[in-house]
Every structure is written in C-alpha cells, then in structure tokens.
C-alpha cells in the first residue's frame, strides 16, 4: 500500500498486493446479485459524471458533493434496504439517495431547483429529501444520525417491522452527538443501522489529524454496539457484510455500525477538483483509482464469465440514454411558483387538535397570589 494511504486501518493490508486489492471473491453470491451491484454502481457513476459534465452550464445552482469511487458501499446498501425502511443521508447524498429511491428523476429535478424535484426545489443536492420514499438528506454533519435513532425508537415502540439507516462519513464521527447516538442505540437495542463511508477525509482534513484512534469500529464496540468494517471498494464484500448485518438487526439483535473504507476521487465539493490544495497525495488517489469499485467488479465478472462485455456496453448505453432524457426533462421542468412563506414554515391546519380538543373560556385569573421562589432545585 502506498505511503499516505491513511484512510485504511491495517486490518486490510493483507488484502492488498502490489497496490491491487486481491480480496474479491464471488463465493456464495449469485450472478443476479452481482449484476445488480454492478448496475447500481454504473448508474451512480454515470449519473455523477453527467452532473459533473453539465454543472458548468450553471443551471444546477446548488453545492454538489460527488461520491465517485465510493459506489460499492451504497451498492451493498441498495440490496439490503427495503421501501419501508428509512434512510438518512449526510451532504454527500447521491449514493444514499439512489440506494433508497432508485429513480434518477426526482434527484436531478431537485438539483435543477424544479418543482418536480424530490423536495420541490427547496433543498437541492445536499439537503434533498424524498419523503414518499422515506429518504432524508441534510448538510449539517451528524445531526441526522440522531434523527435516524429516533425513527428506530418509534419503530420499536410501535412494533413496526422496519429499520432506520443513517449514512455518513468519518467526519461525522468527530461530533459528540454521534457518540450520544451510539450509546443510546446500544442501550435501547434500536433497530438502527449506521453506515459509515470512511473515505479518510473530512473535506481536506485526514482522519488521523482529527481522531486519536483510527479504528472507528473498535470505539463503537466499546460502547456496546456491534460493528464491522470492510474494504469499501469491494461491492460484493460490501453486500455480504451489509446484508448479513442488516439481517441480524431485522431479527432484533440490536443496532449495528458498518464501516466501509473507501476514497472519493472528486474534490470535496463541486466538479472542479481541489487537488491544487495538495491535501492528499496523488499516489494515494492513484491507488484508489486503480482499485475502482466498478473496475474491480467488472474484471471479476468477466474473469468468471458471469457476463459478456457486450452486456456491459449495452448497460452503459442504456443508462446514458436514461440520463440524457432525465436531464432534458429536468431542464424543461417548471420552477417553483411564488410561495407563501408562512405556509412553507408552519402548518395551516390542526386536524388532530380539532378532533380532540374543546374550546373553553378562562374564568379569569386571580392575581392575588404570590409567585413561588424555587428552593434548592
């Protein structure tokens, strides 16, 4: 492994030989599943490539965080998550969005700020929600992890057979509220799955500059929560670890923390790149590009004869067409109408209160009473 590959804890060093990941195996995973993983990753990659290519047209007027190079983790997640589950994402939403919502259109329209976007154009890439699909994004680190815990708690109380997921990065782990959440989830044995895309950096700041102990999973375990880490560019392993762990959570075995070690190729935000700031080594980037999750899986599939090159080419073409159409439609989609600010921020109806509560008149307050002075507490 090259110097400066600080994003990985040593657990994985034996899986790397001469700069190449050698741990991939399709054992116990059927061809259809492998193909689904592959399709997911290609869809995500091509979606982001298209956003990046068109961004300079200045029609997508919101901050956009790309996850190219990290596709294998959300691919594994996509296969394990169900419609009735809830998923909360940090700012880098595209992979998590696609894992939960599958369709391109509500995301693309949202990025274009159109009324047909998942959030009606009020949120954009970093804050997008798609309520109908139980997907919620947000750009303040760690905050929504606790929200996911609350969803899990409600599921537990109401006996809802579903799980809450939260997707985030190694940066969110710096925040204290993350540890409040881990403690509480372990304490209450919540049906909660925490998915950490550990790409080794919070913006430019490497993990070892922010955390004294690199092994996040070990810290989580000390709080009483199950935790598994895996080489995050291996989509099959990602699928294996995630689906197994999620299965255990579904069986009521309590919450789990899953940590995929991966790397983002693009700059932290936007399509322009930020390597001029030299916060990471080109060697490190090269290592991870050499171990592209899509390429690793593609080579394996071809090697094992699971798929023909032709099928891949067809897939790529077909996704390209789908994207072309989605972007064309998005650009034609109407912008939101002038809004009533108050109605955007407050409910206009109170159906429950109307149903349950009577109107009463106060009989008038007797002011000749002394205020209490609280005692010692």
């Amino acid at each position: 492994m090259p110097n400066g590959v600080c994003t990985m804890n040593s657990n994985f060093s034996q899986l790397i030989k001469d700069g190449r990941y050698i741990g991939m195996s399709l054992d116990g995973v059927d061809g259809d599943t492998v193909w689904q993983l592959y399709v997911f990753m290609q869809r995500l990659r091509l979606l982001e490539n298209a956003i990046a290519a068109l961004y300079s047209e200045q029609q997508m007027r919101c901050p956009v965080h790309f996850c190219d190079g990290q596709e294998a983790i959300s691919a594994g997640l996509a296969l394990a998550i169900r419609d009735s589950d809830h998923l909360f994402s940090h700012h880098r939403t595209h992979g998590f969005y696609l894992a939960k919502c599958r369709e391109f259109k509500p995301l693309i329209d949202e990025i274009y700020g159109r009324i047909s976007g998942a959030s009606g154009g009020v949120a954009g890439s970093q804050d997008i929600s798609y309520c109908e699909m139980n997907f919620h994004g947000g750009a303040i680190l760690a905050g929504s992890i606790g929200i996911a815990a609350g969803v899990a708690r409600a599921m537990q109380i109401k006996n809802i057979p579903a799980l809450a997921f939260a997707g985030f990065g190694d940066g969110a782990v710096d925040e204290g509220v993350f540890w409040e959440t881990v403690n509480y989830a372990a304490l209450q044995k919540l049906p909660l799955v925490l998915v950490c895309e550990n790409n080794g950096y919070s913006a430019f700041s490497p993990q070892n500059k922010r955390q004294a102990v690199m092994d996040i999973s070990a810290k989580v375990r000390a709080f009483g929560m199950q935790a598994h880490s895996f080489f995050g560019n291996d989509a099959v392993e990602s699928h294996r670890v995630i689906s197994q762990a999620v299965g255990a959570v579904r069986r009521g075995e309590g919450p789990v923390f899953l940590e995929g070690h991966t790397f983002r190729w693009s700059g932290h935000v936007g399509p322009e790149g930020d390597d001029q700031y030299q916060y990471r080594s080109m060697q490190e980037l090269a290592f991870w590009k050499d171990n592209c999750p899509i390429k690793l899986l593609e080579e394996k599939m071809l090697e094992e004869g699971l798929v023909k090159q032709q099928a891949i080419d067809d897939l790529v073409r077909q996704i390209g067409q789908e994207l072309d159409q989605a972007f064309a439609e998005a650009k034609q989609s109407p912008f939101p109408e002038p809004v009533d600010w108050h109605a955007m921020n407050y409910a206009t109806q109170t159906p429950k209160a109307d149903e349950l509560l009577a109107e009463e008149k106060s009989s008038g307050f007797d002011q000749n009473q002394d205020l209490a002075i609280p005692g010692p507490y």
Binding site: H86, S119, G120, V122, A123, D127, S129, C131, H136, G138, I140, G143, S144, I145, G146, I147, A149, G150, V151, A152, R153, A154, M155, I157, K158, I160, A164, G176, V177, E180, T181, N183, Y184, L187, A343, M344, N345, Y346, A347, Q349, T350, P351, K352, A353, L356, L357, A358, E359, E360, S362, S363, F365, D366, Q367, Q369, L371, A372, I373, P374, P376
Partner: protein, 323 residues
C-alpha cells in the same frame, strides 16, 4: 369550581393527552420518577409505561434529534428540561433540523414536538439556571413559542402544543408552578397567537408575557389605587404574536408598555414595540416603553437578585411616567 396549580394543570394535560392518543410520549431526564419534573409528569409512568414515559441520558442534543425522528413516525413527543438552559445543548437539533424540517420537506412532513423548558428564578439560581431564551425562539421560523402565565393556559397550551402540527417550545416559569385557578376538566385548547385581555383599562396598555403577567396585574392594581386604568394584555404565545390584539390595545389606550421577562435588547419586547410603531407609531400619545431584565446574566446573591428582577412597582412607575 375545581382549582389546579400550574404544575398540576400541565400534569393533567399530559395525562389526558397520553390517554387520548397513544402516539403521545413524554421524554426527559427524570420524567419517570415520582418527583416528576416539579410535578408536571408525576404518575405518567404508572399509567402509560416506560416506553412512552422515558428517562433519557444526559444527552440533550440527541434527545431532540431523536424526537424529530419519532415525530416523523407519527409520534407526538413531549420533551422536558428541568432548566431551559440545558436545552441549549440541543440548539443544533432545534435550529438546524427541527425548525426547518417542514420547510425542507416542501411541506410534506410536520413535526408535532413539544419541548418544555423550565425557567428558574430566585433562590440563587445563578447564571446557568435562569435564562429564558424565548426571544431566540420567537426569532426562529418554523417553531411556535408558548408562554402560559396561568394554570388554565398552561393546560390549554400544552394540549394545543401536543395536538398541533408544529414544533413548540413551551416556556414554563418555575415561579408560576404554585399559582392556582379554575381549570376545566375536559381536554381543551388555547390557540397560539390569541392573546388574552386580562384586564381592561383606558389609560395605558401593558402587554405582558409569561411571568410578567401576574406582575402586570399587580401593577395595574397599584395604578388603579391612583386612579389610573391600565389595560393588561397577556400575549400567551411569544410566537406567533397576536398582532391584531397588540395593535387594538395600543389603539385603545395610545400608551404602550411591554413587560417581557428576558434581556431587553433584541427580544420579544422590541418586536412588540416595532410592530406597534410600524403600524401606528404616529397615533401614540407617548413614546412606548419596555420593562425587561437588565442586559446582564443573573446574579446569585439575594441582594443582587432583588435588583435584577423588576417589581410591580417598577412597572407601575414606568406606566405613570407615560401619562
């Protein structure tokens, strides 16, 4: 007619709310002990069990985040803080998530969360146990702020908070908890943004909030002794404000004093004066005035506390200066 103390009124509201709707839950440090947050949560555990009446780790930030998740799943959580000061740990959850959730979801989701913060006063609470941030909360879009001054309102506003659709910060002044009055037994509502005229008068309007309301009533009594008829308007909610009622009382008396139990600068009192000035400043017979706390943190020593908290006499004097 049956009387209840303020804390009992809140307690009854919570009992009834939990009975009416199994989605109502009460969460907070020590809510499930017999002392029950100064009596406001007593007995809930026994009746509704530990899933719905839940002690919480000393992790205020997560507590509010979790409530946001619970509310998304249809629950109606009521959170408690023994002092409102402790709630400040959860400001990220409040300001960056809860207040904007409805907006960010493009109106598709609402969060019926009630957060009750108890404001300390007296007996040397000091600077970390006596702050009331209702001014902050009323500045923030997407949340409502209840400040009931009487047992009747405490019950009705708690009910309205729990069964309304917006997040509410419910500011309860600890010193009001022993106040008693007639409280109807049925579950009823006191709506937000509906101020109550507590005492009519023609000479000067006192617009008061929370614990300043009893003070205003006493000041009006003092003034009456001198032949001055003060009108007392209890705002009841610090957000939304009942603009109509505020303008109406100012229009009637042409003299406005705002009594707000918070630091003076850039608080709700300033908002009330601004509203009136913008709409009818030219019609006032005297320049408006505020009675607030000094722009200072709270001292512990009794002699300093006495200087810190204004009295009904201070309020009466301020009114008289206007005539």
């Amino acid at each position: 007619m049956r009387e209840l103390a303020y804390n009992q009124a809140i307690n009854e509201a919570l009992h009834q709310a939990m009975g009416l709707d199994e989605d109502v839950m009460v969460v907070g440090q020590l809510v499930d002990y017999r002392s029950g947050i100064f009596g406001t949560t007593t007995g809930l555990l026994e009746e509704y069990g530990s899933e719905r009446v839940q002690d919480f780790p000393v992790a205020e930030s997560l507590m509010t985040q979790a409530a946001i998740g619970e509310a998304q799943m249809g629950m109606r959580p009521v959170l408690t803080h023994q002092r409102l000061d402790f709630m400040i740990y959860s400001m990220d959850a409040v300001a960056n998530w809860m207040s904007l959730w409805r907006f960010k979801s493009n109106g598709k989701q609402s969060l019926p969360i009630t957060i009750m913060g108890v404001v300390g006063r007296g007996w040397g609470q000091g600077p970390q146990h006596s702050k009331s941030f209702h001014g902050w909360f009323s500045h923030l879009p997407g949340i409502k702020v209840a400040m009931p001054a009487t047992p009747f309102d405490a019950k009705g506003m708690m009910m309205e908070s729990v069964f309304g659709e917006d997040p509410v910060i419910f500011v309860a002044h600890r010193s009001l908890f022993s106040m008693r009055e007639h409280v109807p037994e049925m579950p009823y509502r006191v709506r937000f943004g509906e101020a109550m005229l507590r005492r009519p008068g023609k000479d000067v309007s006192i617009v008061a909030l929370g614990i300043m309301v009893p003070l205003a009533m006493q000041a009006a009594e003092l003034l009456a002794g001198e032949g001055i008829e003060a009108e007392v308007l209890d705002l009841r909610s610090a957000s939304p404000l009942d603009k109509e009622a505020i303008l109406a009382t100012a229009q009637r008396t042409k003299r406005l004093v705002v009594a707000d139990p918070a630091w003076q600068t850039a608080g709700v009192a300033a908002e009330v004066i601004s509203l009136v000035s913008e709409h009818m400043g030219a019609d006032l017979a005297a320049n408006p005035a505020r009675l607030c706390l000094p722009d200072s943190h709270t001292p512990m020593s009794q002699t300093l506390e006495e200087q810190y908290y204004p009295t009904e006499q201070d309020l009466a004097d301020l009114c008289k200066k206007m005539l």
